[in-house]
């Protein structure tokens, strides 16, 4: 990720009344590295493929925010919709609210931090290769099918405000065959498929940095977050996929 100079001039764009194409054309036409988009109202594909700039978005950006993004930083002051970071390769997305379904769909690198909740199928089809390993950190909770078909990378769900209840829906890790899901909770998630193994995390070395980064972004107490009980979900090597859809449950 290229550095963005903190002293660069800020370009302000109002998205009011703009179609997704008009807005994205404006973004592509400028060399500005510090951009603020105001009044976002559902425009899709913002920062698709973007690199080397920081975008602050006020309002509600549309679906597929940061799709294929390759090194930019996105800050959303509000909620994001569906498919944030679809196939994202590098960079950071920081959502000071909640996000919709299929967050980080097929993500291959970079970091997504969501202060609130995310919808169904968070991290579906995430993958990793050599030095590329994507990370998603969710502050509160996620919907069902978290990490569905997950093939690599790391997902952390912190369960903030849930008082130890499992911060995930049903069928976490269905079809999972790579990567790790860390869940901060006192109780085990419900309805886990046979294809994942669950253990109490014995050490948090792999996620400590991500949790600290999250805490710094949103002003939480990292030590308190790290002191909770974490479960870690991994693919269950003992359970091959001969009956993925028939023998669904453990």
């Amino acid at each position: 990720m290229r550095d963005v100079s903190p002293t660069a001039d800020v370009l302000s764009i109002s998205a009011e009344g703009l179609s997704f194409k008009e807005l994205n054309d404006k973004l592509r036409a400028t060399n500005a590295t510090e951009i603020v988009i105001n009044n976002a109202a559902g425009q899709r594909y913002i920062a698709a493929g973007a690199e080397g700039r920081r975008l602050t978005i006020n309002g509600t950006p549309g679906n597929a925010l940061a799709a294929y993004m390759d090194g930019a930083e996105i800050i959303v002051n509000g909620n994001a919709q569906d498919a944030v970071g679809d196939t994202m390769n590098d960079g950071r997305v920081i959502v000071h609210g909640s996000a919709g379904d299929a967050l980080g769909y097929g993500m291959r690198g970079g970091l997504i931090c969501v202060k609130g909740c995310s919808g169904y199928r968070t991290g579906i089809h995430m993958k990793q290769y050599q030095d590329k390993s994507p990370v998603i950190v969710i502050g509160e909770s996620c919907g069902s099918f978290l990490g569905e078909y997950m093939a690599g990378g790391t997902i952390v769900v912190l369960g903030i405000g849930l008082r130890g209840q499992a911060p995930v829906g049903n069928f976490t890790g269905t079809g999972m065959h790579g990567g790790e899901i860390y869940i901060r909770s006192d109780e085990e998630p419900k309805n886990l498929p046979a294809q994942v193994s669950i253990d109490t995390a014995s050490n948090l070395d792999d996620i400590r940095g991500h949790v600290r980064a999250f805490a710094q972004l949103f002003g939480c107490d990292a030590d308190e977050l790290l002191s909770g009980n974490f479960f870690v979900l991994r693919p269950n090597a003992k359970n091959p996929y001969h009956s993925l859809y028939t023998q669904y449950l453990r």
Partner: protein, 372 residues
């Protein structure tokens, strides 16, 4: 059968989303159609111009005791034959062409009329109840009267739909001039069939209107089941069958809207097994008694009904849907931006879980058919 010309519903398959939006005042406060147009327009890119439509509740207070029939006619001849049928079965309090304005993108519109009617009591008394009689008349027209299609038949509500982008359809019908306590809107991206005026959403029977984003993979199983109960699926389009399933469960079987939703998007057996005894028994009963009415495949739907609104996702939640609330107002849409554009500040906004219906009713009335 209604106009199955080449390029009608069911003749061609087009593999390919839709937009849905709804707003409802729990206090029954009436507002203009202006906001629902803004809401659906922001999701323009979810439609492709082959269908748009609206349901508006509370818009005909001066005729609220009458069934408001909205009918498409292919030509005057079809209209004449249909009116002869209406004259024979109903007292017609008022009839008029539905006012429209010229909109460049809206073409090839049929004749569009509305009739405020009451059935002759002597025709149905001691045989069936009034609503059943009206429903049967609607089916008769839609299946036996060529070139005629009743697309709205409830009391104090109207469906307005056609081929075009929803915001153009709204301007065509001058929706901003109507005042109601509940509006729903649909922008169509036809997936399996080409669009025609009758095939746009909402689909409606009596007070029920359904708009739908998704595709029902269980359509044929559902259709066969519902046709056994006397419904005629005239359109070969999946949303029509949802409207009839809701009518069957809620009006005919007397289930509450909540229970109807549990039939349509039944919990998995594994989930039922983990329920407390009483819930388990109820869900087992619903799944076994109405197994053929379980709807499979991705969907988000908004159902309007007498005094209420219900929103539901398929149990796997394969389509997006968010709910916002502000004071007595309830907003439902495929995308949050479609709510924020008309209600920037909300008390809360959230996405209901798959298979968990969101239901709002006027002044907290029950959602059961008999309770109103």
């Amino acid at each position: 059968m209604v106009k199955l010309k080449p390029m009608s519903e069911g003749m061609v398959r087009i593999p390919s989303g839709c937009a849905i939006s709804g707003m409802f005042s729990r206090n029954g406060k009436r507002f203009s159609g202006e906001d629902i147009i803004k809401s659906i327009e922001i999701m323009h890119d979810r439609s492709n111009g082959l269908g748009g439509g609206f349901a508006a509740y509370g818009i005909y207070p001066e005729f609220k005791e009458y069934y408001a029939f909205h009918i498409f006619f292919d030509d005057i001849e079809a209209q004449r034959r249909c009116e002869a049928f209406l004259d024979k079965h109903f007292e017609i309090a008022h009839s008029s062409e539905i006012p429209t304005r010229h909109v460049a993108n809206i073409t090839e519109q049929p004749l569009i009329w509305r009739y405020f009617v009451l059935p002759f009591t002597s025709h149905y008394i001691s045989k069936m109840d009034e609503r059943e009689y009206v429903a049967q008349c609607v089916f008769t027209i839609n299946s036996d009267y060529k070139g005629c299609f009743v697309f709205s038949s409830g009391k104090n509500l109207g469906v307005f739909k056609g081929v075009g982008y929803p915001e153009d359809i709204a301007r065509f019908y001058m929706l901003e001039d109507y005042y109601g306590y509940c509006f729903t809107a649909h922008g169509r991206y036809p997936t399996n069939t080409p669009g025609w005026w009758g095939g746009a959403h909402p689909f409606s029977l009596l007070d029920y209107t359904v708009i739908h984003n998704g595709e029902i993979s269980s359509y044929d199983a559902n259709r066969r089941a519902i046709e056994m109960y006397g419904y005629k699926c005239a359109l070969l389009t999946d949303t029509e069958v949802i409207a009839y399933i809701i009518d069957y469960l809620h009006r005919k079987k007397g289930l509450t809207m909540q229970e109807s939703a549990w039939v349509i998007a039944a919990p998995f057996w594994q989930t039922i097994e983990r329920m407390p005894e009483q819930d388990r028994a109820l869900h087992q009963y619903l799944r076994m008694a109405f197994s053929a009415l379980l709807i499979n495949g991705p969907f988000s739907i908004i159902v309007g009904f007498e005094n209420g609104i219900m929103a539901l996702n398929d149990r796997l939640k394969l389509r997006s849907m968010v709910v916002g609330e502000k004071d007595d107002m309830v907003y439902i849409a495929s995308e949050e931006s479609a709510i924020r554009i008309i209600a920037p500040v909300l008390d809360k906004i959230y996405a209901p879980m798959g298979g968990e219906p969101f239901i709002a009713t006027l002044n907290g009335t029950e959602d059961g058919y008999g309770s109103i």
